[in-house]
């Protein structure tokens, strides 16, 4: 068997972007290869979200270039952007599910826009929903789900069109410790299936224990880029990881909060 081929799925080259209020991104260079898992870490306001937005081309760099698949930021037009978005899965902190659609419909919509036949949509949605463990809730509306479940639906929607890369912007920012763990586990699982994943987060502590590649964004520059240090399945280490420790911390915090009220 030949070794897996390393292709760059998304590349950022000499990117600069003025973020206003004296913040800016300066000379950012980073590449994500196929099947890679990357944490992009930095304090709030460091420009992580903007960087991600530029990757799905909702925003443009002031200078430099972003290449995702065959799409180049300097050449992309209104007409070609939908094609790009179909190659990227996007997940946000606030889930962005459509409130008046069921779980199934939210996922189906992503496939409808690409003109997938309904029989195939049903088949694929069933598979993905089973994968994220929410098949039994397919007819529920988002409001009836917990935050963690909503985020899993959002992730299911993001991977519905089999994207080459999944971009997640603070995907666990609104979640409690247990849901955070579930969501991260799911992201690792998706990555294990071959999809490249880029997770932006401000929570340095949380990401350090997994041994994945971590890119540190500080003062608008890439301060460090730690390549993957461990090999093997990260899920094996999840139990002893800081996620669980953090889970304890958070649940303590939660209790304290309630006492204060």
């Amino acid at each position: 068997m030949s070794p897996p081929e390393h292709r760059i799925i998304a590349g950022i080259y000499h990117l600069s972007k003025d973020l206003g209020r004296h913040f800016s991104l300066t000379d950012i260079n980073l590449q994500v290869t196929n099947g890679e898992f990357v944490f992009l870490v930095g304090p709030s306001g460091a420009g992580k979200s903007t960087l991600l937005r530029m990757m799905y081309m909702d925003d443009r760099p002031d200078s430099g270039q972003i290449v995702v698949g065959s799409f180049v930021s300097t050449r992309v037009t209104r007409r070609t952007i939908p094609g790009l978005r179909r190659k990227i899965g996007i997940v946000f902190q606030d889930f962005r599910l459509i409130e008046d659609r069921t779980v199934f419909e939210n996922i189906a919509l992503a496939m409808k826009v690409t003109g997938t036949p309904m029989s195939k949509i049903k088949q694929r949605a069933t598979k993905i929903l089973t994968h994220v463990g929410l098949y039994h809730k397919r007819h529920d509306f988002p409001k009836a789900l917990s935050g963690g479940e909503q985020q899993r639906v959002a992730i299911a929607r993001a991977v519905a069109n089999r994207p080459a890369i999944l971009l997640a912007d603070e995907p666990t920012g609104n979640l409690d410790a247990v849901s955070t763990r579930n969501v991260l586990e799911l992201l690792f699982k998706i990555n294990a299936g071959g999809t490249a994943v880029l997770v932006a987060t401000h929570d340095i502590e949380m990401v350090q224990s997994f041994g994945q590649r971590i890119i540190y964004l500080e003062n608008g520059r890439i301060a460090r880029d730690h390549e993957k240090i461990f090999v093997g399945d990260v899920r094996d280490r999840m139990d002893e990881s800081r996620v669980s420790r953090r889970a304890e911390q958070l649940s303590e915090y939660d209790i304290r909060d309630e006492e204060n009220e």
Binding site: Y56, R78, I81, P82, G83, L84, R85, R86, I90, R96, L97, I98, E99, D100, R101, E105, N106, L109, A110, K112, V113, T114, G115, P117, R157, A160, N161
Partner: protein, 289 residues
């Protein structure tokens, strides 16, 4: 665009309509009520114009003849009058007929006329002009022309009364037009705003569709269809209410005229377009890159 995509777009519209029944109903009611103001205004205008037209049609021009004219001369003059542009009808009223008519109009006081030794009234032609020729300029030109004819004593048509009426009608039309314009603009504003709010409510839906790679057409078309449907529903509501108002008020105003059916059909189409355009322009703000 293939058939499946078209079907999905219609699905989208149906889901949008079905899931927010309350909000949609309120939107249609708001639009329908403001459209009602417009159609009621149009019906009032229509009836006003009819009334003014009718009053104008009652208008007659009298050509009074000199005494003692031969019958074939007057006959010839009648034909000559009929030959003029814009004349619909010319009837001869002999002095005898005129006196009888006059007596009838006086009623009980007609005894006064018994004192008369001879009939002082002249023979006359009563001239009716065609529709569209009932203007003070035209009547004046006919009067000016015929007064020069031999055997014509005088031409009268209630000049002062007619001119005053004409000015009044003109004033009414100007006020009506101004009012109409204001109502029209506010109705457009209300509809546009209502449709815009509908679109604003769906901001997340639109954002999500963009994120999952929907083309602008795929996002837009369901909303445009929805806007058009809302416009149609609102216009039908307005027409239904107008019919009720018409049925009620024609009991008290027997001559009341209803809108023509083709005008109403045009109105429905207009509202559909208004809704669609409202949707479209509201979305341009969210879909721009």
């Amino acid at each position: 665009m293939n058939l499946r995509t078209a079907k999905y777009m219609i699905d989208e519209m149906m889901i949008n309509l079905g899931r927010r029944k309350g909000a949609n109903a309120i939107a249609v009611i708001i639009m329908g009520l403001s459209l009602l103001i417009l159609v009621v205004f149009l019906m009032v205008t229509l009836n006003l114009a009819n009334l003014i037209d009718k009053t104008g049609e009652e208008m007659r021009l009298f050509v009074y003849l000199e005494d003692g004219m031969e019958q074939d001369v007057t006959r010839e003059m009648q034909l000559k009058l009929l030959g003029l542009r814009g004349i619909e009808e010319v009837s001869f009223i002999s002095k005898g007929e005129a006196l009888t008519e006059f007596k009838e109009r006086l009623g009980e006081e007609s005894d006064l006329l018994d004192e008369l030794v001879e009939n002082p009234l002249p023979d006359a032609f009563r001239v009716k002009t065609k529709r569209g020729y009932i203007t003070s300029e035209f009547l004046a030109s006919i009067a000016f022309e015929t007064e020069k004819w031999e055997g014509v004593e005088e031409v009268r048509y209630g000049k002062k009364w007619f001119e005053r009426g004409e000015r009044l009608a003109k004033g009414i039309y100007i006020i009506d037009l101004a009012l109409g314009l204001i109502i029209f603009l506010s109705v457009i504003f209300v509809i546009y705003n209502t449709v815009r709010l509908t679109v604003l409510h769906r901001r997340t839906t639109i954002d999500v569709m963009k994120l999952v790679g929907a083309t602008n057409a795929f996002i837009r078309i369901p909303f445009i269809l929805e806007g058009a449907l809302q416009g149609i529903a609102a216009s039908l509501l307005a027409i239904a209410l107008l019919t009720a108002i018409y049925a009620f008020s024609s009991k008290y105003l027997p001559g009341l005229v209803f809108m023509r059916y083709d005008a109403l059909a045009g109105f429905v189409v207009f509202c559909a377009i208004l809704g669609a355009v409202g949707s479209f322009s509201a979305m341009r703000r969210f879909l721009k890159l």
